[in-house]
């Protein structure tokens, strides 16, 4: 009988497309907006993710997210190194600097200072020059998007010079770094160089990056660091989630996206529900005839639910497919759109679509279950 239900459904093209459209619309909007939201959240943590190698981030106790830098005294590095279970620890500078270009204009940049000896935290995607060139005087590596922003429509060229805090900086390499929330150019240099580019402050150390001794859980080492130094120590994963939680709790981003997602859910439910109900009402005599011929309420229920599931699956597939296509087409090249579709977005959209088709079919189910089979004898 499920096959009969399927043929009943697809036989009425207009209604069928209307129901599917409602689900597609909802799935597209939910998946697309959720993915843009995830993309924005990914931007907030991109700098943590780009720093590969160290598993532990140590910072001031009051730091709430990665851009909330509260400088530490340089001596904190040695205190962290002294904690049992710490394999190694290095300094890491993160701050905003003002770059003065040769033509006289200014541009704000994110300045990252890497440990002079080890260059821990160096970018992985260098495609012009090399990391080792950072050891040269005044050397900096810039991210590709930043280069294009400062020198648009100009070919990539190493050796370009600009100034930060009246000090000369020479671009010795270009890298593909993840975009940040502020979308400023990212400039990598040695720690000792970075503190000279930065505005003079008594304390300049932003983070201490560390690793646990092999075999010791990083979480345990974090607890020891906090207990011994009074600083805040987080694993990379903990720091990522702390940053995301900050943006979720302290900004209007989730609410704005949530409203759009909710509207998509509502409109999708309304379109799909109304059309599905009309479809059922249109076929009510047929359902009555089936009941008269001996189809049980369970059979009728299974038929309606199978119709709902079918449009749900098709609508979901098309909707998330369109959302993915949207992301694929609009995030390449120089697009500034943030789009990240993890499996969780697909799962949430699937749950939302399941709720939509369930809600959409509830009225129809009620209608067909109460229909009197004797209806077929009434002309």
């Amino acid at each position: 009988m499920l096959w009969v239900a399927w043929k009943m459904l697809i036989g009425n093209r207009v209604k069928y497309l209307g129901i599917v459209f409602g689900v597609v619309f909802a799935a597209l909007l939910i998946a697309q907006q959720s993915s843009i939201f995830c993309g924005l959240m990914a931007l907030t943590i991109s700098q943590i993710r780009d720093v590969e190698g160290p598993e532990i981030w140590v910072m001031d106790r009051n730091v709430q997210f990665v851009d909330d830098v509260k400088p530490l005294a340089d001596t904190e590095l040695f205190r962290v190194k002294g904690v049992p279970g710490v394999d190694w620890a290095v300094s890491f500078y993160k701050g905003i600097a003002r770059a003065r270009l040769q033509e006289g204009s200014y541009e704000q940049v994110i300045l990252l200072g890497l440990d002079d000896a080890t260059l821990v935290g160096a970018p992985g995607g260098v495609f012009m020059g090399s990391i080792a060139d950072l050891r040269r005087p005044d050397a900096v590596i810039m991210d590709e998007a930043g280069y294009r922003r400062i020198w648009p429509d100009e070919p990539y060229r190493l050796g370009r010079v600009f100034e930060m805090n009246d000090r000369r900086a020479v671009v010795v390499g270009l890298t593909r770094a993840s975009r940040t929330f502020q979308s400023f150019p990212i400039v990598y240099t040695r720690y000792s160089q970075a503190v000279r580019y930065a505005p003079p402050e008594r304390k300049v150390l932003s983070f201490v990056l560390a690793n646990a001794v092999p075999g010791t859980p990083p979480e345990e080492v974090c607890r020891r660091i906090e207990a011994q130094t009074g600083l805040q120590a987080l694993t990379r994963r903990q720091f990522i989630w702390k940053t995301i939680r900050y943006y979720l709790a302290k900004t209007g981003i989730p609410v704005n996206f949530g409203i759009t997602v909710f509207l998509g859910f509502l409109v999708g439910t309304a379109i799909a529900g109304q059309t599905f109900y009309l479809f059922t009402v249109e076929n009510i005599r047929q359902f009555g005839a089936l009941k008269a011929m001996g189809a049980s309420n369970w059979t009728i229920l299974a038929m309606v639910l199978s119709q709902a599931v079918q449009v749900g699956v098709i609508g979901y597939g098309i909707g998330v497919g369109l959302a993915a296509l949207f992301g694929e087409l609009l995030t390449g090249g120089r697009s500034r759109l943030s789009f990240f579709m993890p499996w969780e977005v697909l799962a949430i959209t699937a749950v939302a679509v399941a709720v939509i088709v369930l809600l959409a079919s509830l009225l129809s189910i009620r209608r067909v279950l109460v229909v009197d089979p004797a209806i077929v004898f009434r002309g």
Binding site: M1, W3, V4, K7, I10, N12, A295, P373, V376
Partner: protein
């Protein structure tokens, strides 16, 4: 007796809007007979046939069909009873417009749990017997009224029911197709262990009846076993 009804009443609504559709109907339908229920609109024919078919509960009375007491029967067994024992031919055919002729005819078998291929094969045989062997894959909209009614008859008999209930089967057909339809119903469905009830207004088909029960105002006012005599009197 295929059908035995005693003192059947049926009322709809309550209080001031109470409508008495049946007022104590007694009716016997022997096996092997085609019985017609005739009478003016609103006299209770459809209500009575709905109760006999097990799609409507009587308010009072006794209804025994094919040996089963329908009044005492609970909802689930009654659905099963209809599925196994009753075939329906409706006035407006009630074919599923998106199914082909053979798929429509197979519906009772699908409801009974048959596999699709086997059900369609049996339905094709039934349609072939009714002269629609070359129209199996046509949609109802592609068939004439007479052909649609034949598909409906195939659907009604495909699962070999012992009681065939026909509601105005010829009202939408011209004289020729009405005659063919009644010949098919009488020829295929009336067997020694079966019975057929036909609700009709159509005096042209009275001659196919073994017995004609005339209804008026919720009661059976006469039962005539000679259709020609009945026809001449109406």
């Amino acid at each position: 007796m295929a059908v035995r009804a005693r003192g059947v009443t049926k009322s709809f609504g309550a209080g001031g809007s109470l409508t008495q559709a049946l007022r104590g109907v007694d009716l016997d339908i022997p096996y092997g007979e085609l019985v017609m229920l005739v009478g003016p609109s609103g006299c209770g024919k459809t209500t009575l046939v709905s109760i006999i078919a097990g799609t409507l509960e009587p308010t009072e009375g006794e209804v025994v069909v094919l040996g089963d007491d329908l009044v005492a029967m609970r909802s689930g067994p009654k659905v099963r009873f209809r599925r196994e024992n009753v075939g329906f031919v409706f006035q407006s055919y009630n074919l599923l417009p998106t199914l082909t002729a053979v798929e429509n005819a197979a519906v009772p078998l699908l409801i009974a749990g048959w596999g699709r291929a086997r059900a369609v094969e049996a339905a094709a045989d039934a349609l072939d017997r009714l002269g629609l062997g070359d129209r199996l894959t046509r949609l109802p909209a592609e068939l004439s009224g007479g052909q649609q009614q034949r598909v409906a008859i195939a659907r009604a008999i495909v699962h070999d029911p012992r009681l065939l209930v026909c509601d105005e089967p010829t009202s939408a057909l011209d004289a020729e197709n009405g005659r063919i339809t009644m010949e098919l119903i009488a020829g295929i469905a009336v067997q020694p262990d079966r019975a057929v009830i036909v609700v009709t207004h159509d005096a042209r088909v009275y001659s196919f009846a073994d017995r004609i029960a005339a209804m008026e105002d919720g009661r059976i006012v006469s039962v005539e076993t000679d259709p020609r005599r009945f026809a001449s009197g109406h």
